[in-house]
C-alpha cells in the first residue's frame, strides 16, 4: 500500500498523520513545492505584526519530525507536474536538482491548497506590492516593513486576511487605508452588521474606501500612488492585494478530475474525487453547506484540518465522513471581534427562506462586572423556527457566543431551544440570561408569539414608500429631542398605559426604544390591549442610527 500526498500544509499533513495512525505498514510520501511544511497559515498576519516573534513558532515541524513521529517521508521543494490517473503515478520535479521522476501510488491525496487572486491591475508586479499566502510571502512583507519602515499601507480587499493585517500593520505604527469594491467590509457579513466594524475601524484611524476599486499602482519603481476607479488616488509606501483566494486545481483538472460549481475540486463526503483512488482535502476541495446541502467554497484552516483527517481515515479503511460546514468565520481587529456562522440574512433570503431577523444588543457580562456590549444578529426560518445563522460583533465574549450558535445550529436547533440551554453563568463570564438565550427568546417571540420584529432597513423602506405606520418612540422626551426616527411619536414607556388611547388600534404600529427591550415591552402592552399589528424595531434606535437611516 503506497499513499502519496500532494501538499504539506494543514490538510496534507493531517491526512498523512491520520493514515499512519490507522495503518502502520503503508508507505506514505508527501510532496510540496514550498520549503516549509505543516505551518499555521492563519498565524501569518501575527508574524507580520509584533504578536508572533519568531518564524520557528509558526513552523514548529519539519520533514525530520514527520519521519520520526509518523514514519512519513516529506519531500519539500518538489513540484508535482502531472497526475497520471491511468497509470496511477505522478510526475515529480525536484526543484533544486531539476531531476524529474515518476512516483506510483495506490491512493493519492490532492491537497494543493489555494492561492491569492491576482487581479489584472497595472503595476501589480512592482516590488512593494504583496499578497500574503505562505511563510515566504509573510517573510517578504515582514522584512519590507522592518527594513523600510513604511508609514502608510493600502490594503486592497477587506476579507479575513486584509482585516487581520490592519491591526498588525497598526502594531508596527503604519497608517492603513482599506479599499473595498463592495458597499461594506467583509463581504460575507450583512451590511447592517458590517457598519459596526466600519465605524470602529474609522474610530481607530483606519481610512476606509468603499464602493471603489484599484485601477492602477503608479510610481517609478515601487508603487507610491494607488489610483482608484472613482478617480481618487491614495499615496502609499506599499500595497497588499487580498481580494480573495482561488483553489489550485490545475493538476487535478489536467488529470481529468471533475471540478465543482465553485471551481474547486468536486468531492463527496468521503473526500473522493471523480477518479477512483484519488482523494482531495483542504483549500483545493469544494465543501458544502450543512444547512442548504449546496456546494460552497470557504477555504479555512479548521476545515482543511478536518477534511485532511477524513481523507487520511478513508484511504486506510476508516469510516469518517465529512458533514459539511456552516461557513463559520471569526477575526479580531484590535479590540473588536467579528464572527459569523450559517447563513446571513441576504443568503437566507436568496435561498428562499421566509426569514425572521433579530438584532440583539446586550452586554456580554453584567454591567457591574465591566460587561461590554455585543450585537447579535440572528436569522431563523419562520416556517420551522429553525436557526439559520448568526453574526456577532463586540469586544468580549463573541467567540463563545458564535460557538454556541455553531453547536446549536449543527444539531438543527430551533430558536426556542436557546432559552432552555443550561449555559454556564457567573458574573465574570455571562449575564443571568446569556445573550444567546435572549436571542432565542426574541426570535421565538417573533415567530411563535406574534411579537413581530422589523429591521431598520425594512422600516425605512416602508416609511419611504409612504405607508401609514404609527412609529412610537418609547424613550424619554430628552432622548427623543436629541434624535428620533422621522415621523415618530414620543410616548415614553411610563406613560404608554395612560396615553395609548389616542392611537388607532387597527393601524400598523412600530415601537422602538434605544436597543429593543423597552420597545418590546411597549409592543406587549399594545398587543395585550388589542392593537392588531405591532412590530418592535430590531436593534432599536441605536441600530437604526448606526445604519445611517436617521
Amino acid at each position: 500500500m503506497k499513499i502519496l500526498v500532494i501538499g504539506a500544509v494543514a490538510a496534507g499533513t493531517s491526512a498523512a498523520a491520520k493514515a499512519r495512525r490507522n495503518d502502520e505498514k503503508a508507505e506514505i510520501k508527501i510532496f510540496d513545492m514550498d520549503s516549509e511544511i505543516s505551518y499555521s497559515s492563519c498565524g501569518l498576519p501575527y508574524f507580520i505584526g509584533t504578536e508572533v516573534e519568531s518564524r520557528e513558532l509558526l513552523v514548529p515541524r519539519d520533514a525530520r519530525f514527520f519521519k520520526k513521529k509518523y514514519n512519513v517521508d516529506v519531500y519539500t521543494r518538489h513540484e508535482v507536474l502531472e497526475i497520471n490517473a491511468q497509470e496511477k503515478l505522478i510526475v515529480v520535479k525536484n526543484i533544486d536538482t531539476e531531476e524529474i521522476f515518476n512516483e506510483a501510488y495506490d491512493k493519492l491525496i490532492i491537497a494543493t491548497g489555494a492561492r491569492s487572486v491576482q487581479p489584472g491591475i497595472e503595476g501589480i508586479s512592482k516590488p512593494n506590492v504583496f499578497s500574503l499566502r505562505n511563510v515566504g510571502s509573510a517573510e517578504k512583507i515582514r522584512n519590507f516593513i522592518i527594513g523600510k519602515k513604511p508609514k502608510n499601507a493600502v490594503i486592497v480587499g477587506s476579507g479575513f486576511i486584509g482585516l487581520e493585517l490592519v491591526e498588525n500593520f497598526m502594531a508596527r505604527g503604519i497608517n492603513v487605508t482599506v479599499v473595498e469594491m463592495a458597499d461594506h467590509v467583509m463581504a460575507s457579513l450583512d451590511k447592517d452588521i458590517a457598519v459596526y466594524l466600519e465605524d470602529y475601524l474609522r474610530e481607530q484611524g483606519v481610512t476606509l474606501i468603499l464602493n471603489d476599486s484599484v485601477t492602477g499602482l503608479e510610481g517609478d519603481v515601487s508603487a507610491s500612488k494607488v489610483v482608484l476607479k472613482s478617480g481618487k488616488t491614495v499615496d502609499t509606501d506599499f500595497v497588499i492585494i487580498s481580494v480573495g483566494v482561488k483553489p489550485n486545481v490545475e493538476l487535478a483538472k489536467n488529470a481529468g478530475i471533475e471540478l465543482g460549481v465553485t471551481g474547486a475540486i468536486k468531492v463527496n463526503s468521503k473526500m473522493q474525487t471523480s477518479i477512483e483512488d484519488i482523494y482531495t482535502c483542504g483549500d483545493c476541495a469544494e465543501s458544502y453547506s450543512l444547512i442548504t446541502g449546496k456546494s460552497v467554497y470557504r477555504p479555512l484552516g479548521s476545515t482543511a484540518n478536518k477534511t485532511g483527517r477524513i481523507a487520511g481515515d478513508q484511504i486506510t479503511g476508516g469510516t469518517l465522513e465529512f458533514r459539511g460546514i456552516l461557513g463559520t468565520g471569526i477575526f479580531k481587529v484590535l479590540d473588536m471581534t467579528v464572527a459569523q456562522t450559517g447563513l446571513s440574512e441576504k443568503e437566507a433570503i436568496k435561498e428562499g427562506y421566509d426569514v425572521e431577523v433579530c438584532h440583539n444588543i446586550k452586554p456580554d457580562k453584567p454591567e457591574y462586572y465591566h460587561g461590554k456590549e455585543m450585537v447579535i444578529k440572528a436569522v431563523a426560518d419562520r416556517k420551522t423556527g429553525r436557526l439559520l445563522g448568526a453574526q456577532i460583533v463586540g469586544k468580549s465574549g463573541v467567540d463563545k457566543r458564535i460557538d454556541i450558535f455553531v453547536t446549536a445550529i449543527s444539531f438543527g436547533a430551533k430558536a426556542e431551544d436557546l432559552f432552555h440551554l443550561d449555559l454556564a453563568y457567573a458574573p465574570p463570564f455571562s449575564t443571568t440570561k446569556d445573550p444567546v438565550a435572549y436571542t432565542g427568546m426574541i426570535l421565538d417571540n417573533a415567530i411563535n408569539r406574534s411579537r413581530k420584529l422589523i429591521t431598520a432597513a425594512a422600516l425605512k423602506e416602508r416609511l419611504e414608500n409612504g405607508e401609514d405606520i404609527t412609529v412610537i418612540d418609547s424613550r424619554s422626551a430628552l432622548q427623543y429631542e436629541q434624535a428620533h426616527i422621522e415621523g415618530a411619536i414620543n410616548l415614553p414607556h411610563d406613560r404608554i398605559r395612560q396615553d395609548m388611547g389616542t392611537l388607532g388600534k387597527d393601524k400598523t404600529v412600530v415601537t422602538y426604544c434605544n436597543k429593543g427591550v423597552t420597545g418590546n415591552a411597549a409592543q406587549n402592552i399594545l398587543i395585550n390591549n388589542g392593537f392588531k399589528e405591532v412590530y418592535n424595531l430590531s436593534g432599536g434606535h441605536s441600530n437604526y442610527k448606526k445604519n445611517g437611516l436617521l
Copy 2:
C-alpha cells in the same frame, strides 16, 4: 385575575415580569421580607471584594421601577406568614407596621429562595461569623472588612460562594484559610480535576485544610480561633460559613404542598406544585437532570431566572415548559476558571453508566498566540457514545468550552459529533482543532476505534493489585530519569518502531507520554503491530503526577 408572588429576587421578579408581558389586565403583587429586590445574588462576592464598587450597581431596580415598567406592585419588608390553599389567600405581615392582613389570589407563585445552612457549631453566632446570602449579609461582611481591616479569614466550605470569596478577600489583602470536610474542594467536581484547583490555590498562598471540619469557634466576644475535628486550630480575625444552602420550604410545607426527594418543593415541567393554582420557581423549587431525568437540587441564578419566566408564562396561559438542567456551574478564582456540566465521573458511575473518561490537556489557543493550558475531563457512555458531562480547569477560554459542551449535550450529542462541529477558528480564539473537538476525537477513538483509555487512578489501582501490565513511558530518557511511573519501561517515541520487538504482544500494555498525544501515537503503533490490549494513560504523566500517584 389576581397573581401573587412570594419572593422578589431572581425568580419572583422574572415570573411577575413575564406574567405582565403576557397579560396586561391581571393584578400582580409581589411580597418580600427583605428590603432589596431583583438583585444579583451571584454578584455579591464581588461587592465584598473590590470589583463592584457600589451597592446600586448590584441592586439597579426598586419597587418604583417595577410599578412604572410592569405595573406590578412590590411590597418589600412584608413577610408572608401562611398560605391558605383552601381559601386561596395568603396571610401577610408588614414588618415595619406589624399590620397583618389577608391577600386573595387566583394564582400564587412561591419563590421563597434558599438560605445558608447553619451547622451546629459552638460559637457560630459570634459577631464576626458570617454567611453570605443577600445584600444585607454582604454589606455586613463588607463593612466589617473595611472597618476592622482584618488580616486573616477562615472560610468553612469550598463551594461556589466559598471559593469566589477567596479571590475577593485576597483583593482586600486578607490571608485565607479554607476548611473543607471532603477530601477535595468543590464537592461536585471529580477529585482528579479538583487537584488542579487545589494546587493553584496553594500556589497563590491560600491555606487548604481538607478532610476536616469545624467543631468550635473560640474567643471572648469574637471568634479568634477555629477549632477543627482533627484537633488542629486556626487563628483568624473572622469566619465565613458557606457549607451550602437549603430551600426555604416551610411556607409551602405548612400549606400541605408536596416536597420532593431533595427536600425542595416538588414541581412539574410547568412549575406547578401539588396544589392547584400554586406554582413555584427559583431556589426553593426542585429541578431535574436533563440526562437522567431524576430530581436534583442545584440552586443557581440562571435556573431561577429561567424557572421564574416559565412560571410567569404558565399562569398567564403560556406554553413554556422547563426542560431540566445539566447542573452547569462555573467560577473563577483569581486567574483560574473551573467549570462543569452534566455528570461527573463519580455521578455517571453511580447512575450505572459504563463510562469512558478522558483527560485532554491542550492550550486554548496556539502557543505562538500565548495559549494557556486547559484540562478537559469528559465523560461519555460507552454503550451509546453519548456525552454525559465535562469538567474543565484552565486560565483562558474555559467558559467557551463548557458552553459548547452544554449545547452539545443538550441536543444528545455523541462523542463522535464534536469533531465535526464547524467551530470558529482564528489564532486569537482557538486552535485549528479546538480542544472540544479534540476531546470528542479521543473519546470516539476510545469507544469506537479500540484506542482505549485508562485513568490515572485505575492504572494505579491495577498496578497496586499486582496485575502484570507493561507500562511504556514514551518520553525522552531525560524526562524518564527525572520522574516516571514505577515499573514503567522507557521507550522514547522515535525508537518504538525498532524496539517494540522485545515486548509481549499478548500482555496488557499501557502507554503514556507527558499529556497524552504521543502516548496515543505509541498506542496506535502497537495496536497496528498486533498488540492485543493497549491502553493510553488519560492525561499522561502530567495528570498522574498531579494526582499524587507517582
